[in-house]
């Protein structure tokens, strides 16, 4: 039998033995992102290892680096929660002066990116540092025990947005950091989901190979935070694409009129209802007693697509 070549590199930068929960979505992101990066670096500079990682505090930071162990096989630095963008800027500047070729990968969760680290991210993008910022979006502060972040979707249960007599859960629409990043007119901004790993891989590679800053926001479900069985991580992420709640797109140089979409139904009609996505997750359980909340969520999803320039129909 002929040997088939896997579509992703077999080099590894993310070692097992880390302490992520079983079925962790962000762990898949770490693995694929570093692999994609190394492929891009090899193509661009002839050196697959030509990158370093600046990590914000968060689940992936905690599970991967516990003294005296590390899961990382690339140079890696963690400084604090709110400054991955700034630390990456510093590393990039130092590399420039040292004459080192390569690119810096900054990684943050949704809290570390959309909330406390937004400003450092904005500064990094605006100053045009040669850095890819990867936001793994699990839609809440999981590391501290599931609190709402500004990236938490409408209606979701978290410990600080519990549903109750006076609350339907999170009551504010999701903040789309990818759009905020794109408003900085940087060379490349994309959203992805581990439900389509090769699309994510391609986008990471693209982000790594452009000159200047890039931003990728990837949906990475969290088993305990979303109240899902561990084997459903990828399935949920796939449903997010198929029901239209998670758009896949690329924006280059802030050009909102030429957004490229992936896996967008030609007629604008999504086939699967958002309920399919919600039903799998314990964090949305209470919504099924509140159909008006699901309707509101759907309205928000439509509005989000409208901002992206698409009119959609949701079943």
């Amino acid at each position: 039998m002929a040997v088939r070549k896997p579509p992703i590199t077999t080099r590894e930068y993310w070692a097992p033995g880390h302490a992520a929960c079983a079925g962790c979505g962000p762990a898949i992101v770490m693995k694929l992102a570093t692999k994609a990066f190394s492929e891009a670096m090899e193509e661009k500079y002839g050196d697959p290892n030509a990158f370093a990682i600046a990590h914000a505090t968060g689940c992936m930071e905690v599970v991967s680096g516990v003294f005296p162990y590390t899961a990382w096989k690339a140079p890696w630095i963690h400084v604090a929660f709110e400054n991955a963008g700034a630390v990456a800027s510093g590393v990039e500047a130092a590399w420039k002066k040292l004459g080192r070729k390569g690119k810096i990968l900054a990684i943050g969760g949704d809290g570390g990116t959309a909330d406390i680290g937004l400003q450092a991210l904005s500064g990094m993008l605006e100053r045009r540092h040669n850095v890819v910022y990867l936001m793994y979006d699990n839609e809440a502060y999981m590391n501290t025990g599931i609190q709402r972040s500004s990236s938490t979707p409408y209606g979701a249960w978290t410990t600080t947005s519990p549903p109750g007599k006076y609350s339907i859960g999170e009551d504010k629409p999701k903040k789309w950091v990818a759009l905020i990043a794109a408003a900085h007119q940087v060379p490349y901004v994309a959203t992805a989901s581990i439900g389509d790993p090769y699309d994510f891989y391609r986008k990471m590679k693209k982000a790594a190979s452009v000159d200047g800053p890039a931003f990728v926001q990837v949906l990475a479900p969290c088993v305990p935070g979303w109240r899902i069985p561990p084997e459903k991580t990828v399935e949920v992420a796939k449903l997010a694409i198929e029901t239209g709640i998670w758009p896949l797109f690329e924006i280059e140089n802030g050009d909102f009129h030429n957004i490229k979409f992936q896996r967008f139904p030609k007629d604008g009609k999504f086939k699967k209802p958002i309920e399919d996505y919600l039903r799998l997750q314990g964090r949305f359980k209470h919504l099924f007693k509140r159909p008006e909340a699901i309707q509101e969520l759907k309205n928000q999803v439509k509005e989000m697509w409208r901002i992206l320039g698409k009119e959609v129909e949701l079943p």
């Binding site: 025990g145 947005s161 109750g164």
Partner: protein, 393 residues
């Protein structure tokens, strides 16, 4: 009186609720998070009225939002830990400078790096210059009582300063214990609505707060804070006494003394570790050691007079610091020595650095320290001034 079995964090959340706070602005961080989780639950279940929860995007903004709320006349509350507290640092100065009695629970946690989520007092003690009052709780009951008193003391017309109530990570924050909670009406009597020094809603005589203070005036405002801090000592004692009369737990002493009357050696420290120390004192007493414990409840303002009264009658003080100031020494030790310096109290003082980053402090540790102190007193000479007690060598 209703009793509840709650964690230290829940005790803090209940206290905030019972104090009828009006604005809570907080940001998640381990191990503080369950405080705001509980408050979010109170709101979701409609258990509180007129409480606005602002889920801010960073600790820096948490303190800033509390400052804005407090300046508008509201009773404001927040909670944080370690890195979060450090990120607030600039705004801590601001809250005190603008004389806003914000109350904050700090769950003591070690400062990074390396990253650690366990108990260590360096985070709160590093904020000792910011003009905040600091109360250290030994157990969950003291967390609850401390928060209630913090509002009363901070909002007192002679004080008007922010107050930090400090509890230990995990040892208190996540450990369940019985807490006595008075009836809401009793608390309301103890803690009436806040009478702010000023509020931004004064449209009749609008003013600005915190404007540029030139060298002609800046100094006086600093002095006012220093003076308010001195006044706070009296207020603390009054309020502590009133608390005792109303609810049966007396807090009129800024330093809680335990079997110190005839003691030769006194262990001095703060927070949850003093529970262990008291236990050890009992055992050591039964073994014939004349030892006692002094628990510093209020680190700011610093209980200078009470410490002197204690120190003049003992031969040695072992200061247990779960913190360290680099280039110097344990912070409680540092300050305790300073205030005794020009007095006639001349006990031998030694600094034991213990339990950093959540390392356990056991009764046996305290016993060993007692032995060491006794030798020192017999020799009349220190072996060393600072000992990193728990170090693996």
């Amino acid at each position: 009186m209703p009793k509840k079995v709650v964690s230290g964090n829940y005790a803090a959340a209940y206290a905030a609720k019972h104090a009828r706070v009006e604005v809570v602005a907080a940001y998640p961080i381990t191990p503080q998070t369950s405080i705001i989780e509980k408050i979010a639950e109170f709101i979701a279940n409609g258990e509180v009225e007129n409480l606005q929860y602002v889920p801010v995007e960073s600790e820096h903004s948490a303190m800033a939002a509390c400052i804005g709320a407090s300046a508008t006349g509201a009773r404001a509350f927040t909670a944080t830990s370690a890195q979060g507290l450090a990120l607030m640092h600039e705004m801590l100065h601001w809250a005190a400078g603008a004389r806003l009695p914000v109350v904050m629970v700090d769950v003591n946690r070690a400062m990074a790096p390396p990253w650690s989520v366990w108990d260590d007092q360096t985070d709160s003690l590093a904020q000792r210059d910011t003009g905040w009052l600091q109360f250290y709780a030994e157990n969950n009951q003291e967390v609850y009582d401390g928060v209630l008193m913090a509002f009363k003391i901070g909002e007192h017309e002679k004080v008007n300063l922010p107050v930090m109530v400090v509890e230990s990570a995990f040892i208190l924050s996540h450990t369940y214990d019985v807490v006595d909670m008075p009836e809401q009406e009793e608390i309301d009597e103890f803690l009436p609505p806040r009478k702010p020094l000023y509020t931004l809603t004064d449209f009749e005589n609008p003013f600005s707060v915190g404007a540029l203070g030139t060298p002609a005036d800046y100094y006086e405002f600093r002095y006012k804070i220093a003076k308010a801090m001195e006044e706070a000592k009296k207020v603390i004692k009054e309020v502590g006494k009133e608390f005792g009369e109303r609810f049966g737990r007396d807090y009129s002493q800024m330093i809680e003394l335990y079997k110190t009357d005839d003691a030769e050696i006194v262990f001095m420290g703060m927070g949850s570790l003093m529970g262990t120390v008291k236990e050890a004192v009992d055992i050591l007493r039964s073994e014939g050691y004349k030892v006692g414990a002094a628990k510093v409840r209020w680190f700011r303002p610093f209980p200078r007079e009470e410490l002197y009264e204690l120190a003049k009658n003992v031969e040695g003080i072992a200061v247990l610091d779960r913190n360290f100031s680099f280039g110097q020494e344990g912070i409680l030790f540092n300050e305790a020595k300073g205030v005794l310096y020009n007095t006639d109290a001349k006990p031998i003082m030694k600094n034991y650095i213990v339990g950093l980053g959540g390392r356990d402090i056991t009764v046996n540790d305290v016993k060993a320290i007692a032995k060491n102190m006794k030798e020192i007193i017999q020799k009349g000479k220190l072996d060393r001034e600072i000992e990193w007690y728990h170090l693996k060598r």
